[in-house]
């Protein structure tokens, strides 16, 4: 069903409606355009000179309106009649009434003078002769109709006015301007043409009021932009959306340059290290010994036979190769002196490493557990455990690792390695194999104060990984010495082997170690320079090619 929308209230109505079902406003422009002012006909109203005229057709006017019109007609007749004389009679009136009456008389006189007698202005719904405001309050179709239609010739309303001083060209005075020259014209009073007040004149006009108070026109919320602006908006939108999306990393191939380089380094190192092992080459000369190794050698040489020595194994299995090779000549020298060893560790894996070292690395000496050495196992507690062990070894580690009573009892003597040991200073020497600088520092700090005393004959020796040399050297070079000697790294072990003229693990490792260290230095030097120089040269060549 086709609908049309009310130009005033905006609500839908059937297409055949002439008036809005909701506000009773005109839905369509009247057929034949707007009527001439003289010919404007309103339902039930006759535009005659008498004002409210007779009804054109009673059938078009509802009964209630007929009654109203009848009453209005009576009133109009009464108003048209001259005021009865009785009103001007001799009835006594008060002073204030007198004033009012005089004012009314003057007003009525002036009206009579400005209006032609008996002339009632025509009913005019639109004030012709004045510019109708543009489409502020009127529907669009009405504006168009008004524009197409020429204003009809109407009686100039000013004909009822006195000649204006402006017309005469005489200079006006403020007093003259303030003088009312035109009475209230009834013709300007609008006649209702719709709604329940249809046909009434002088009523408050519904349509203009409604028009002013109507619902604001619904404007489109879409932003009107040009194509260029739209293009910029799209570009900005694309940029912002791209900000949130992570840039995909460039996909690396399965075999990249880094992979190749790493594999090349690994293969070169492996071949170089394996070559001396495969060929059993042992031609590289031992290094010259340093003062730390020489001091350790001197201390061990001074040990009498069957002297008791505490050996700490505090390194991880990953560095067993280095520490085994470093400690091998020292422990070998110690065993050759038939020292009785007590093995301890502050690392959980240390006791196994110690057992492995004695039974496998030094298998030639055929040391027997419980006779030549005792493995007391793990000392828990770090620094506190060490302090407890140094002060009270029997109470801290009462049993050996094979669950025997190491320190003896009333019915059993102590093991030979522990006989006569009541505190740490009863040992002739303490040797620590260590790979961790913190562990080395803990041992030095806990043991040092006990052996610094010149009356104490216990010496403390470190067999350390090469990475610990800067950390333990200050203790060795200080005075008094908390560390009496040190053998550091495979180089130190090889130097000690040179001192003792033994061929142990350092001899097996020394050639491979030397080749590996040399090739590693060469790879870093050559590879680093090549990695730096080649791209620089290529960029220079590219720049020259561009220029």
């Amino acid at each position: 069903m086709e609908e049309i929308y009310c130009p005033l209230c905006g609500k839908p109505n059937p297409a055949e409606n002439k008036f809005c079902d909701f506000c009773l406003a005109h839905l369509k422009p009247p057929e034949g355009g707007l009527p001439e002012p003289d010919a404007v006909q309103f339902p039930g109203i006759d535009n005659n000179q008498d004002g409210l005229g007779s009804h054109a057709s009673d059938s078009e006017v509802p009964s209630w309106l007929s009654e109203i019109e009848g009453e209005d007609q009576g009133e109009t007749d009464q108003l048209a009649e001259p005021e009865p004389e009785s009103r001007k009679s001799d009835e006594p009136i008060s002073d204030w009434m007198t004033g009012i009456s005089e004012a009314e008389e003057s007003d009525s006189l002036s009206s009579d003078e400005t209006l032609p007698s008996g002339a009632i202005p025509p009913v005019d719904p639109f004030l012709y002769g004045q510019e109708v405001p543009a489409s502020d309050n009127l529907p669009e179709w009405l504006n168009e109709a008004l524009e197409e239609e020429e204003p009809p010739e109407v009686v100039d309303p000013d004909i009822w006015a006195e000649p204006s001083p402006h017309v005469s060209g005489e200079p006006d005075t403020p007093q003259e301007d303030l003088t009312p020259t035109k009475p209230i014209d009834e013709s300007t009073e609008s006649l209702e043409n719709a709604g329940p007040l249809a046909g009434l004149k002088g009523a408050l006009s519904a349509e203009p009021g409604v028009a002013r108070a109507r619902i604001p026109a619904a404007y489109s919320t879409k932003l009107k932009v040009t194509a260029n602006q739209r293009a910029h908006v799209d570009l900005m939108k694309t940029l912002i959306e791209d900000e949130d999306q992570p840039l995909p990393l460039p996909r690396r191939g399965a075999i990249s340059q880094q992979h190749v380089l790493r594999w090349v380094i690994a293969l070169v190192l492996l071949m170089v290290v394996l070559w001396p092992v495969v060929t059993a080459s042992q031609q590289m000369p031992y290094p010259s010994y340093d003062e730390g190794s020489a001091e350790v050698n001197r201390l061990i040489n001074q040990l009498p036979e069957n002297e008791r020595v505490l050996v700490g194994f505090d390194y991880e299995p990953g560095l067993a190769a280095e520490l085994d090779a470093t400690g091998d000549p020292v422990i070998d020298h110690l065993m050759s002196q038939e020292a009785l060893l007590t093995l301890v560790s502050t690392s959980p894996t240390g006791p196994i490493l110690a057992e492995r070292f004695i039974t496998e690395t030094q298998a030639d000496h055929e040391y027997i557990n419980g006779e030549n050495y005792v493995n007391l196992g793990y000392i828990p507690g770090g620094a506190a455990g060490l302090q407890s062990f140094f002060g009270n070894p029997q109470g801290t580690l009462p049993y050996s690792i094979d669950r025997s009573s190491a320190w003896g009892s009333e019915s059993q003597d102590a093991l030979p390695a522990l006989a006569g040991i009541n505190q740490i200073t009863d040992y002739a020497m303490v040797i620590l194999l260590v790979d961790d600088p913190d562990v080395a520092r803990t041992w030095i700090e806990q043991l040092g104060p006990s052996i610094i005393d010149p009356e104490v004959l216990t010496s403390f020796v470190l067999i350390a990984s090469a990475q610990l040399e800067p950390v333990i050297r200050p203790y060795f070079e200080s005075s008094p010495q908390p560390v009496n000697g040190m053998v550091v790294g495979l180089r130190g072990g090889a130097a000690y082997s040179r001192l003792t003229e033994s061929d142990g693990i350092p001899r097996e490792y020394w050639d491979a170690f030397g080749m590996g260290a040399f090739v590693a230095a060469l790879l870093i030097l050559v590879g680093g320079l090549g990695y730096y120089v080649i791209p620089e040269l290529s960029s220079i060549v590219q720049d020259q090619g561009k220029t």
Binding site: R356, G382, T396
Partner: protein, 205 residues
């Protein structure tokens, strides 16, 4: 009130151990040794608790739908086997040593070997990544130490051996002394804070 008791006990024990370290009074020394033995026992128990906790955590992971539960199962199996062998035969038995020699040492040794390759690779790329004076000094020092630590085929390059010794004794030791001094001062400060109750790692505000 309870926190106050904790603090009082901690401060008292710390003072007894510290004073017993300096004053060789028999009562004080014996008390200090007893307290240290207690601490050693507590740490040993803590180690056992840690092992049990590790086992329980991986037990939960192995019984869940975790995609990496194979690793947890492998850890539990290895732990049970090792504990069984070392517990039954003893830690010095050849079976226990076999596990140690042919499983644990090769695994950790291979990690160190990979570390050697990675460090050489990093040294190769260092000049490319950060071509500045410090990088050059670092690379030169590493090359000198590596060359002169090994036998270098018996070749004696004049001055290089002395340079290696000088690097090991002067710059490296100077840096290490600084580190040691800093560590010592930090330990003293931490010990004093605990002794005066300003720091309470055992609990309490």
């Amino acid at each position: 009130m309870r926190n106050l008791a904790y603090t009082a006990i901690a401060i008292a024990v710390g003072l007894v151990v510290l004073v017993g370290y300096f004053l060789q009074l028999e009562l004080l020394v014996n008390l200090r040794l007893v307290l240290l033995e207690w601490a050693t026992l507590l740490v040993a128990v803590a180690l056992l608790v840690g092992v049990i906790n590790l086992l329980s955590v991986h037990w939960r992971k192995s019984t869940s739908d975790n995609k990496n539960r194979v690793n947890s199962i492998a850890l539990i199996v290895a732990m049970v086997i090792t504990l069984g062998v070392a517990g039954y035969f003893g830690p010095t038995h050849p079976y226990s040593l076999w596990i140690f020699n042919y499983i644990q040492i090769p695994i950790e040794g291979s990690l160190m070997a990979i570390l050697a390759v990675v460090l050489i690779y990093a040294g190769v790329r260092l000049l490319r990544r950060k071509p500045n004076l410090l990088s050059i000094v670092f690379i030169a020092t590493a090359v000198v130490i590596l060359l002169m630590t090994g036998p270098l085929f018996g070749i004696d390059i004049p001055g290089l051996a002395e340079l290696r010794i000088w690097i090991g004794k002067v710059p490296a030791v100077a840096g290490a002394r600084g580190i040691l001094l800093g560590v010592s001062l930090g330990i003293i400060a931490a010990g004093l804070r605990i002794l005066i109750g300003a720091d309470r790692p055992y609990g309490g505000n």
